[in-house]
Amino acid sequence: MDPIHQFNISKIYILGHIGGYEISITNSALFMFAAVFIIVAGMLVATARRSLVPDRAQSVVETTYEFVAGMVRQSAGEQGMKFFPLVFTLFSFILVLNMFGMIPGLFAVTSHIVVTVFLAFVVFLTVIIYGFWHNGLRFLKLFVPSGVPVYILPLIVAIEVMSFFSRPISHSVRLFANILAGHITLKVFAGFVALLGGLGIAGWIGALLPLALTVALTALELLVAFLQAYVFAILTCIYLNDAIHPGH
C-alpha cells in the first residue's frame, strides 16, 4: 500500500567496498542489464535476415533508427550525426527503462535521480568537451548573442551562463520527476481501489472511480514514458547543436 515502496533499492548480492562505498548488485542494476540485453539482442535478432522488404520487427528497428536519425539531423544538422550513436543509446536506454517501469511489479530505474543526473552529465560534459575541442575559444560565443546592445551585454551574458549551467539540472530532474510522480500517482489511485474494495458492496461501487482513473493514468504514463525519452533525446540534440554551431 505504501506508494514509495516501489522505489526501494534492494540488494541482491554484495560484491564489496570501494573507498568506503558499498558496491552491490541491486534490482536497479538487474534492470539496467536487462535493458542493455533487450536493446542489443532485440535489434540484432530483428535485423538478422537483413530483408529488403522488412518484416514487423525489422520495421520497428528501422523506424526507430530513422526517427532518432531524423531528430539528430533536424536539431543538430548533418555534422551532428557523429553523435547519433550517443543519442540513440540515450533514447533507447531511457525508453526501455521507462517501459520496464510500466510493467506492474517491475522497477523504474529512471525514477532515481542519480541515474538521470549521470545521463544528463554525460550530455553536459560531451557538449563542453566537444565544444572547446571543435571551436576552441569561439565556443564562448555561445554566451554572447550577437546583435545585443553593449550596455545590457553583461546582464545577457550572466543569464546565458546561468541557463547553460542549469541545463544538466533541468535535463535530469525533468525525467526523474516525471517518472517518480507518475508512478506515485498511479500507486495512490490503485491503492484506493484496494482500500475501498475491502469495505464491502458500497466500497466496490466507490472503487469504480479510482479504478477508471488508474486505467486512464496507465495510458497517460505509457505516453509519458515514451515522451520523456523523446524529450531527453531531443534536448540532447539541441545542446549538442550548441557545441557544433556556437555562434547562434
Binding site: A29, F33, T47, P85, F88, L180
Partner: protein, 174 residues
C-alpha cells in the same frame, strides 16, 4: 519480529531516490551498462541497420534508374518507329507524284503524236480535195468550153473560134 524491524528501518531511511548509500552501486552499474550499450550499438547494431537501409536505398535508386533507362529506350524506339513511318509515307507520296507525272507526260506525248498524225492526215485530205477540186474545175472548164462551142454552133450555125470561147468561159468562171 524480524520483518517489523526491517520495515522500521525503511521508515527511518530517507526517500528511496535520495538514499546516498545506494548511489555508488547504482553509478557503477549504470556506467558499465551505458558504456557497454553505447559500444555495442556504435560498433555493431547501428552500422548493421544503416547498411540495411543503405542497401535498400541503392536498390530503389538502381531500380528507378533502370526504369528510367527502359522508358528512354521505349521512347527512342517509338520515335524511330514514327520517323520510319513518316519516311515511308513521304516515300510513297514521292513515288505517287512521280508516277502521276510520268503518266501525265506519257499521255501528253501520245496526245501530241495523235494530234500530229491527225494533222498530217487532215493536210493530206485537204491536198487531195484541192487536187480533186482543181482537176474537177479543169474538167468543168473543158466541158463548159465544149458546151459553149456547141451551143453557139447550134444557134448561129457556125463554129466559133476556139480561143474566143476559152476566153469567154474563163471570164464567166472567174
Amino acid at each position: 519480529m524480524e520483518k517489523a524491524h526491517t520495515e522500521a528501518a525503511h521508515e527511518k531511511g530517507p526517500f528511496p531516490p535520495f538514499q546516498k548509500e545506494h548511489f555508488a552501486s547504482q553509478l557503477v552499474w549504470l556506467v558499465l551498462s551505458f558504456v557497454v550499450l553505447y559500444a555495442l550499438l556504435w560498433k555493431f547494431v547501428l552500422p548493421r541497420v544503416a547498411s540495411i537501409l543503405a542497401a535498400r536505398r541503392t536498390r530503389i535508386e538502381s531500380d528507378l534508374a533502370e526504369a528510367a533507362k527502359a522508358k528512354a529506350e521505349s521512347e527512342a524506339a517509338l520515335a524511330h518507329y514514327e520517323k520510319s513511318l513518316a519516311d515511308a509515307r513521304a516515300n510513297a507520296q514521292a513515288i505517287a507524284a512521280k508516277t502521276h507525272q510520268e503518266l501525265a507526260a506519257r499521255s501528253e506525248a501520245r496526245r501530241k503524236e495523235l494530234e500530229a498524225g491527225l494533222a498530217t492526215k487532215l493536210a493530206d485530205a485537204e491536198k487531195k480535195i484541192e487536187a480533186t477540186k482543181t482537176a474537177a474545175m479543169k474538167n468543168v472548164r473543158g466541158i463548159a468550153i465544149d458546151a459553149a462551142g456547141a451551143i453557139v454552133e447550134r444557134l448561129t450555125g457556125a463554129a466559133p473560134a476556139k480561143p474566143a470561147v476559152e476566153r469567154a468561159v474563163d471570164r464567166a468562171i472567174n
